[in-house]
Structures are given as structure tokens and as C-alpha cells.
């Protein structure tokens, strides 16, 4: 400012300065401004490049998780294997384990080999059957137990191809690497190409990735996010049901009713401090209080939800107080002036006007909670969970996984096929986060009022 005033004072310098030709001082100021703009643009470019790099690497690695290779074959449900005494007794049929179903798939390959143009020298049907995911016999057994009357018939069944065959069509496996890999052979890849030619093997969109449960390291092709999505959803329900009433009540009291004294000052400072506490601390607290002291079950969404509630509360209180503060005092004064009680003024006038801001803050708080991993590691949510939790409210107490934890889990697996799955899970998580933030923006745009 001093530069500006001094250079504008007339008569201080000789009258030779022109309005059109810049003097040295103006040039310097303009140059400083241009430099600052360049810094700003550079900062934005760096940020955007980092974002593009991150998103494109995730998309590059992860988009293949949404496509999966399937092999469709006719399977003869041999009664000699599945129902030895022909009684059709479901309990006896259930005695046949998944190991007993694997030979049926090998048989199906034998039938396939009789077709023209299919078959590779040195590849037996038993070896070819390894191209089917280990999930295949389990699927088949589930089908037979659900439809025992189909035994003795030939059914068309869509199997997952094994992770390596799937990797072949995603560029992860080649004939060279297959030679070194004990899990797949170059002959199997040749056969896969023949089957693709014949239309038996197809790569299609993989709904299973969104709905299936996690799978063990032996069958990455079957692993899905179903349990994790459900677990995250349950946790968000708990967080929403707890943080919204508690957070809003606390903020309204602090903002509108509480006397201004040292106690409320301490409370305010501590709320701000809590917002900055590392999230892992809440995990330790949750383990000590909810699991060890209160005896709630491990790996349960209710515990995860409670821990995330503690973590999100300060964020929501701060956002709510800010939006309550933004309502002009004239609204309160007018309400009080026509005889409303303090509570009526708050609930009839201030709160509805602050609602869009509160909702926005809540959704952003939820989005933060959705992506949180650290506290969940301590309360047993990193587990391998294959059973879907039941419907609420019992489901809150069943073991479940969570989306960010599933990502963490998959990055530690040995099979290379889990890399694409981890990236795919990140994409799903990002989509959820983007959707939540978009809802927050829409709410703000539609309902926010400015004064």
C-alpha cells in the first residue's frame, strides 16, 4: 500500500512521468504481480498433474477388475458320483464335498476336446480343468444342493476362469511367463485361445466384483467387494444415526443457549483439538472401551460405526456451528420480537435456515469416515470375512469388512491378480466418495440462502 500511495502523490516526482510509459517502480510492481500469478498457475498445474497421475494409475491398474473371463460349459451331473444310491436324499448328496465335484469339470473338458479344432497335444482333461477357478466346484455343489432333481441331467454352467487365464487376456500373463509359472502352462493358454475362438470362453463385465464376498489367495478371480460394501454401509448408518442428533444438539446448545464462560471456552477448544487427534487414537479407545470393557463383538460394524462416530463428531459440530453462526442475528431478533421463545426461534427459524450447511457438513464428515482405515485395523475389521452380515439390526453385530480395509488387505496378498482388485476397490471407493460430495454440493446449491 505504501508503494501505491507514494507513487500516486502528484508533484512528488518530476512531471516527466507519462501515463502511457511505465516508470521503473510500476514495472516492478507489475512484474511482481505477474510472478505471483505464475507461481499460482504452477501450483495448480502441479496439483492437477499429481491428481491425473494418481487417478490414471489407479484406473490403468484397476479398470480390468471390472471385466472377468468366464468359461461356459455343459456339465453332466453324474448320479454315480453325486448320488451313489440314487435315493435323492439331500443329506447324502451334501456329503459329497467340493473335491468330489472337480472330476465332473474334467469330464466336461473331455467332451469339449471331442469338438473339432479344440485340444492341445500334451494337455490332459485333468490339467485343462485347472483353467477353471477353484470356485467352480463350489458353485456347482451349491447348485446341486439347491436343485437336487437336476442330478442325471446335463446343465449349462458358467464358470470363472482361473486367475492366470484371466490374466492372459488382461496382459498380465504371456506365453513366456507361463513357462516359468507353475500355476499355468503355455498349453493351457493355447487351449484358452481355441476356446475363445469357439465362443466357450468370454470376457464380460464382472458384476461379481461388486457383489461377491472376499476369496482366499487360491482364487483371486472370485474375490469381490460385497461384504465390504455392506459393512461400510452399516457403519455409515450407525455413524449417521449417532452423529447427526448428537452433533446438532451439541452445536445448537453451544451456539444458541450456552452461557459464555470459561467452561464453554474449554469445551470449544477441546472440540477443535479432538478434530485434529490422529484417527488411530480413536481405534485404541474403541478397542479398550467397546470391545474389552463393553464386550461388543470383534470385527462388527457396530464397533466400527461407534469408533468412526467419535472421530466424525468434532468435524460435524464445527461445521454445524459455522452454519448456525452464518444465520444473521436479525432473524433471531425478529422471532424473539414477535414473542417466540428462544427454543421456538431456534427450531422454527434458525435451524431450517442452517439445515443445508449442516447436511453438507454431515455428508463431508461421513465421506471422511468412509475412507478411514487406521482405527478399523485395531478393532478386527481387517479380517477375512466371507459371510454376508444379516439384515439390520442383528447385522450390526455380525463380522464384516470395510471398503478401505479391503484395499489394504488385498495389497498384501501374494497373487499378482490381487493388484488389479485392490485398484478396482479404490475406484469403487472413489466413486462413493465422489457421489457423496456431489450430493453435498447439490444440497448446498439448491437450498442455501445468502444474505
Amino acid at each position: 500500500m505504501t508503494d501505491a500511495t507514494s507513487s500516486n502523490v502528484p508533484g512528488e516526482r518530476s512531471g516527466k512521468t507519462s501515463l502511457y510509459a511505465q516508470d521503473a517502480r510500476t514495472k516492478r510492481r507489475n512484474a511482481a504481480e505477474a510472478r505471483f500469478r505464475a507461481y499460482g498457475i504452477a501450483a495448480i498445474v502441479v496439483a492437477i498433474l499429481a491428481l491425473i497421475g494418481l487417478v490414471s494409475s489407479i484406473l490403468y491398474n484397476g479398470s480390468s477388475a471390472f471385466r472377468q473371463t468366464f468359461i461356459t460349459m455343459d456339465i453332466y451331473l453324474d448320479p454315480a458320483k453325486l448320488d451313489k444310491d440314487g435315493s435323492g436324499d439331500i443329506e447324502k448328496i451334501a456329503k459329497v464335498s467340493t473335491f468330489g465335484y472337480a472330476p465332473l469339470i474334467a469330464k466336461a473338458f473331455e467332451a469339449e476336446f471331442e469338438k473339432p479344432g479344440i485340444g492341445v497335444e500334451g494337455l490332459t482333461a485333468k490339467k485343462a480343468a485347472k483353467m477353471i477357478s477353484k470356485e467352480g466346484p463350489a458353485d456347482l455343489r451349491r447348485f446341486v444342493l439347491a436343485n437336487p432333481d437336476k442330478i442325471g441331467e446335463t446343465v449349462t454352467f458358467k464358470f470363472l476362469a482361473s486367475g492366470r487365464i484371466d490374466g492372459y487376456y488382461k496382459g498380465r500373463v504371456t506365453a513366456e511367463t507361463a513357462k516359468l509359472d507353475k500355476n499355468v502352462s503355455p498349453e493351457q493358454l493355447l487351449l484358452a485361445d481355441q476356446l475363445k475362438e469357439a465362443g466357450v470362453l468370454k470376457t464380460t463385465f464382472n458384476f461379481g466384483f461388486l457383489t461377491n464376498a472376499d476369496a482366499s489367495e487360491n482364487r483371486p478371480e472370485a474375490a469381490g467387494l460385497g461384504v465390504a460394501i455392506l459393512g461400510s454401509f452399516y457403519m455409515m448408518l450407525v455413524v449417521l444415526c449417532l452423529t447427526l442428533p448428537i452433533g446438532v444438539a451439541a452445536s445448537i446448545y453451544l451456539e444458541e443457549f450456552a452461557p459464555k464462560n470459561w467452561i464453554t471456552d474449554i469445551v470449544e477448544v477441546n472440540i477443535s483439538n479432538l478434530a485434529a487427534v490422529p484417527s488411530i487414537v480413536f481405534g485404541i479407545l474403541g478397542l479398550a472401551i467397546f470391545i474389552n470393557f463393553m464386550g461388543l463383538p470383534q470385527s462388527a460394524p457396530i464397533v466400527g460405526g461407534l469408533v468412526l462416530t467419535l472421530m466424525t463428531l468434532p468435524t460435524i459440530i464445527i461445521a454445524t456451528r459455522a452454519s448456525l453462526k452464518a444465520v444473521p442475528p436479525s432473524i433471531r431478533d425478529a422471532a424473539l420480537g414477535v414473542g417466540a421463545s428462544k427454543m421456538q426461534a431456534v427450531f422454527h427459524h434458525v435451524l431450517p435456515l442452517a439445515a443445508p450447511g449442516i447436511l453438507t457438513g454431515t455428508i463431508i464428515g461421513l465421506a471422511q469416515a468412509l475412507g478411514e482405515t487406521a482405527p478399523l485395523l485395531l478393532i478386527g475389521m481387517v479380517a477375512f470375512v466371507r459371510e454376508y452380515p444379516a439384515g439390520p439390526p442383528e447385522g450390526f453385530f455380525d463380522p464384516a469388512a470395510a471398503l478401505p480395509v479391503q484395499v489394504y488387505n488385498w495389497t498384501q496378498r501374494a497373487d499378482p491378480a490381487f493388484v488389479e482388485r485392490a485398484s478396482g476397490a479404490i475406484i469403487v471407493l472413489l466413486v462413493f466418495l465422489l457421489a457423496m460430495n456431489a450430493i453435498a454440493i447439490i444440497l448446498r446449491r439448491r437450498f442455501e440462502r445468502r444474505w
Binding site: L180, P245, F396
Partner: protein, 351 residues
Amino acid sequence: MSFVKLTASALAIAAVSATTASARDQVQIAGSSTVLPYATIVAEAFGENFDFPTPVVEGGGSGAGRKKMCEGVGENTIDIANSSSRIKQSDIDLCGSNGVSEIMEVRFGYDGIVFASDINGPSFAFTPADWFNALAKEVVVDGKLVANPNKSWADTNGSLPAQDILAFIPGTKHGTREVFDKKVLEAGCKATGAYDIFLAAAEGETDKKKKKAAKKACHALRTDGVSVDIDGDYTETLARLAANSNAIGVFGLSFYQNNTDKLVVATMDGVTPSTETVASGEYPVSRPLFFYVKKAHLGVIPGLQEYIDFFVSDDMAGPDGPLAEYGLVSDPELAKTQEMVAAGVAMGPLN
């Protein structure tokens, strides 16, 4: 305000169901991340073939799993601890003080530890002495202890390639590191004669304490950045190798077998690691894998007995089972273990 009523009733329902939360109906397991893949494979097959729900399996490390099991008896404590090393007396004491008096020890197989490098690099033939000479803080030169002067693998052993020494070894919190210390460094220490010098210089009142001090000196690694501790898991080691193709990494046998297209494995004492050579005992760097069962939970948690029977059955842990296919070295004495598990024999005191 109907919303307030709605949330209040939701909270009430949650509170009521919290108190009536029914008995746990699935087995809960935690522990070693080395055992984790095997346990998940068994749990998955168990859930498919039995009427019980699939057990919940958590990682977290051998020590953490045993501690969790020893927290006490009851539904909100775990039933089984997976462990890649044998239980310690301190764990048994902790268990005892928390009322977990009877534990079943089940050894279900062996795991090999392999040394591998990038597939495009040269292959190595190591002996434990090479590793000791490459990584130890002090090595023997002309009968005297000196600070480790070796720069390339050729310095440690003329027959190895002249490649700079760089090793990614598991961090100290890993069970794998214990085996590495014992079966590689200590063996190399003794082979090069450094152990005897350490023992002669060791201070301590008894022979036992002296030996302990000498062993500790054998485990001391050089700190000039040549050996890098990896505190993460094998995927991290693999990523570091990909970025640094001159390095040698330490992996579990099963991890290597799933990544044979990226890694070339080194021999140890002339033996190539494989499930066969580990099972026969020819390959020297291996360790048994265990899980520990809380006996008080047998018959209380549905499916627990069936799960452990299924785990050690020939269908799963046998030489042709899915665990062996994944990289487990099947226990030659599996039949004995099966008998023990079926009879529910608790483990005796550690010897």
C-alpha cells in the same frame, strides 16, 4: 420432529439388540501373516463344505495373535491363534494368568524361506557363510575380527558374481527374521569361525550366558545401508526388488511359488528350495507352522472342532491338498497330528 423420534427409536432398537446379541456362531482366528493365506484357504473350503459359517480370519502377526488368544475365555476372545513360531513361555504364563489353562498345539506343516533376485539378473548359489560375510557387522579376516569390508558378493565368495551386496531382509517384528537369524546368520557365523572368537570374548558368569552373548554378536548386522530391513510384507520386498534389480530379497516359499515369473531363486548349500527339499530336510532354511487352539472353547463355539479336524485332514494339509499346492510343505507326521487333534490332547510344558 419425526426425525428425532426416528433416530431415538433406532438407537433404542440398537441398544436392545446389543444386550440380546446372540451367541457367536462362527470361529474367530487371528495371528501370523505367514499362516494367514493357508488359514483363509481352509476357512473358505470349510464354509463351502460344512453347515457352519465361514470362520473369520485375521492377520496381525504371530506374537499379537498369541497375545489375543491369551486375553481370556469367552465369546469376545478369539478361538485360535496362528503362529509361524513356537509359543513362548511368556505367552503360556499370560494365558494362565487370564484363565486360559489348556491350549492345543497343532503343527500342520513347514514353510521354506528362500533367497530370490530379479529374474533378469544372475542366479546365485549361496552358503550361510556367504550371507554372514556379506551382512554381519564384524567378520573374520586372517583370524581376526574386523569391521565388514566386503562390497560385492564376489568379495565374500569368489564363485559368486561380482555384484554389489544389497539385501532386503524381513524386519525384526517378523517371525521370518528369527529363522533368518538362526538358520542363516548363526550357521554362517559358526562356519566362518567368528562364533568361536565371539564366544572367547564374551562376558558372562555362566557358559550359557556366554553362548547367548556370542549368538547375539552373530546377529549384529552392518549399518551402512547394505542390508535393508523390510517391515512390510513380501509384496513390499517384491516392489523394492523391481525398483532395484541388483538386490537379493528374502521371501516365503509360497510367495516365491506364486511369483516365479518375476523372481529367480538362489540355492542354499547347493540345494534348490522346493516343497520336496524342505520336506526332506535337505534345504536348511525352514520352520514349522503352528496354530494354537483354546481348549475351553471346544464344544462351546460351534464348528471349532470340525474346523481343526478339517484343517489337518489329508484333503487340506496332505501332500496333494490345496495347501501344498499353494506352497505349504506337508508335515510327514500329519497322521500323528490328526490323531492328536481328534483326541483333543492339550500341549504339555515347553521343553
